[in-house]
């Protein structure tokens, strides 16, 4: 359901240069009013929140800012978040490529159903995404007794956080690759196979160069969501300080303890990642257009 798909962005840039004549344009005051409304709305909803994050983060000085970020709990949260991302994003990237390959290179019954299932996590509330893993692996859950007997911890530990993150970010890479590989068709792969290359070589030398920007675009979106996921992770984390708190959960704790400067310091770090995400996204969209 992520609508800013790669294809749309590429296709959309083409028609940008619409030639204007007097009969085709709104009166000047209408143009100015609409532009003013749009910019004012974005200023209040996008720019001001962003500015306020950095301003609040530094309001008690650079010392407090550095102390907040280098606090052991904050460092542990950063480390945990990076660990979760390092596991969840590659898993969903491999899945995305596999799913796109199956769904775009072959015909089979139930294809549209499978496509809908891949999309399903986008339609589920993050809180429910966390809840389902409690129902599977929690103490009262389906595998609860078995896990307890074997002394394996899944919920309120790293595996649970990873599972919830994988669930929430599952469709991102697949959703970017499926429309892209659909428009590219199968002729290049067929040529490669008929010239004697094996399946892996065909994928590596023929398919991958064609989809690399789409793949990167999906990875960037998947990564951003994995870093920032809050609801699902909050349910399965158990909020153990320095142990199972990811960065967003650490921000919540600091905020609820009225340590606003510290909360916004960690938030500013995440905002920088968000801004880098937007820049990389823009570059990738631009690269894929010129490629």
């Amino acid at each position: 359901m992520e609508q800013s798909t790669f294809i749309q962005q590429v296709a959309s840039e083409k028609n940008n240069a619409v030639t204007k004549s007097a009969a085709l344009q709104e009166p000047r005051f209408v143009r100015y009013t609409l532009t003013f409304i749009a910019l004012a709305f974005l200023a209040f909803f996008i720019v001001l929140p962003l500015v306020s994050i950095f301003s609040t983060a530094f309001q008690k000085g650079v010392g407090v800012y550095v102390a907040a970020i280098t606090h052991p709990d904050a460092m542990a949260a950063i480390k945990l978040t990076l660990t979760v991302v390092a596991i969840a994003v590659p898993l969903n990237a491999i899945f995305g490529v596999m799913a796109a390959w199956a769904l775009t290179k072959f015909n089979f019954k139930g294809k549209n159903l499978l496509l809908t299932i891949v999309d399903l996590p986008f339609a589920v509330s993050p809180v429910i995404a966390g809840l389902v893993f409690i129902l599977l692996f929690g103490s009262q859950g389906l595998f609860g007794d078995w896990l307890f007997e074997h002394d394996i911890k899944i919920v309120f530990a790293l595996p649970g956080i990873v599972l919830a993150t994988v669930f929430v970010t599952l469709p991102f890479v697949a959703r970017e690759l499926i429309p892209l590989m659909q428009t590219q068709g199968t002729s290049e792969e067929e040529a490669s196979i008929s010239l004697g290359a094996n399946g892996f070589k065909t994928f590596w030398y023929v398919t991958l160069p064609n989809i690399k920007w789409g793949l990167l675009y999906g990875l960037v979106l998947c990564n951003a969501r994995a870093i920032g996921e809050f609801g699902a992770v909050s349910v399965v984390s158990g909020h153990i300080r320095g142990m199972t708190n990811t960065m967003p959960l650490h921000i919540e704790i600091l905020y609820n303890e009225y340590q606003f400067a510290a909360a916004f310091a960690v938030a500013s770090l995440m905002s920088v990642i968000a801004i880098i995400t937007l820049i990389v996204k823009d570059i990738v969209a631009w690269k894929s257009k010129s490629a």
Binding site: M98, F106, S125, F260
Partner: protein
């Protein structure tokens, strides 16, 4: 969501069918279908009467009303302002347009908890924006609407923008040369083209808003019966180890979102059919 077709003859030339399909099926079965089915299996432990009792409890019903009305209001705000923003970004030129265009995606990239605390501090009674109003915004349903509008904005802009870009100038020229005013051209030519995209964008933003948790919990104030959203009811029940109760509410939410997802697909299917004929 669209139907995919590949020429039947090509089916077995390309290798990896069993591997890729098998892997995909296994992955979604273990990580999507099995977990989600737990919601329905777990609800079976409740009798029908118990289930109805939980999902129609006054506090739950109040939360549906809060979630539904705020998501609807935010969706409508996004339809109006999202369409204007898409229009301005496609049709007009102004300084820093490319950066501003990129910033529209910020709600997709910014963690919801970060958005939540930033919006709360802005719209709190002593905040940068809140101080100019003599009524409370944060910690009321208005605050929830603001958070949900933030979250939903890119959905409408990014569905309307490409459609607007693909409307060919000739159609508008034809309309103008036949004597239509600019407003008539917009109402009778441009708007009908945009309508399915606006509706899709609205549904996506609305569906996302119904399930949203991170950005809302900070700004909502979370007062039972007044500003408590449905996902928070699930969270509260979980913290009290009331798994059956949490699951029952989750069923209501899941069924609602599936109906929404189905409607979105139906809208897109109907819109595509209209253009084919």
């Amino acid at each position: 969501m669209s139907s995919l077709t590949v020429n039947k003859k090509t089916r077995r030339i390309i290798p990896g069918f069993h591997l890729s399909l098998g892997y995909t099926m296994l992955y979604v079965s273990l990580l999507v279908l099995l977990p989600l089915s737990m919601i329905f299996i777990h609800t079976m432990s409740l009798s029908w009467a118990e289930f109805i009792d939980i999902v129609t409890a006054p506090r739950a019903v109040a939360s549906y009303k809060v979630s539904f009305s705020t998501a609807l209001a935010a969706g409508l705000l996004n339809v109006i302002f999202g369409t204007i923003i898409a229009w301005v970004l496609v049709r007009y030129s102004f300084p820093f347009k490319r950066i501003i265009d990129g910033l529209v995606d910020l709600p997709f990239a910014l963690p919801t908890a970060v958005a939540g605390i930033a919006l709360t501090s802005l719209y709190a009674p002593n905040g940068w924006i809140g101080q100019f109003f003599n009524f409370k915004i944060a910690f009321t349903p208005l605050g929830i609407i603001i958070a949900l509008t933030f979250i939903g904005l890119p959905f409408v802009v990014r569905t309307v923008q490409p459609v607007l870009q693909n409307i060919s100038a000739e159609v508008e020229e034809a309309s103008a040369s036949l004597g239509a005013t600019r407003l008539q051209t917009f109402r009778k030519v441009i708007f009908p083209e945009l309508a399915p995209a606006i509706l899709t964008g609205f549904s996506l933003a609305f569906a996302r808003a119904l399930g949203e948790y991170g950005s809302v919990v900070f700004i909502a104030g979370n007062m039972p019966m007044k500003t408590e959203i449905t996902p928070l009811i699930i969270m509260t029940k979980l913290e009290q180890y009331d798994y059956a109760g949490a699951t029952a509410i989750a069923v209501v939410m899941l069924v609602t979102s599936f109906i929404l997802l189905f409607s979105i697909n139906l809208i897109q299917w109907l819109a595509n059919r209209r253009f084919v004929h």
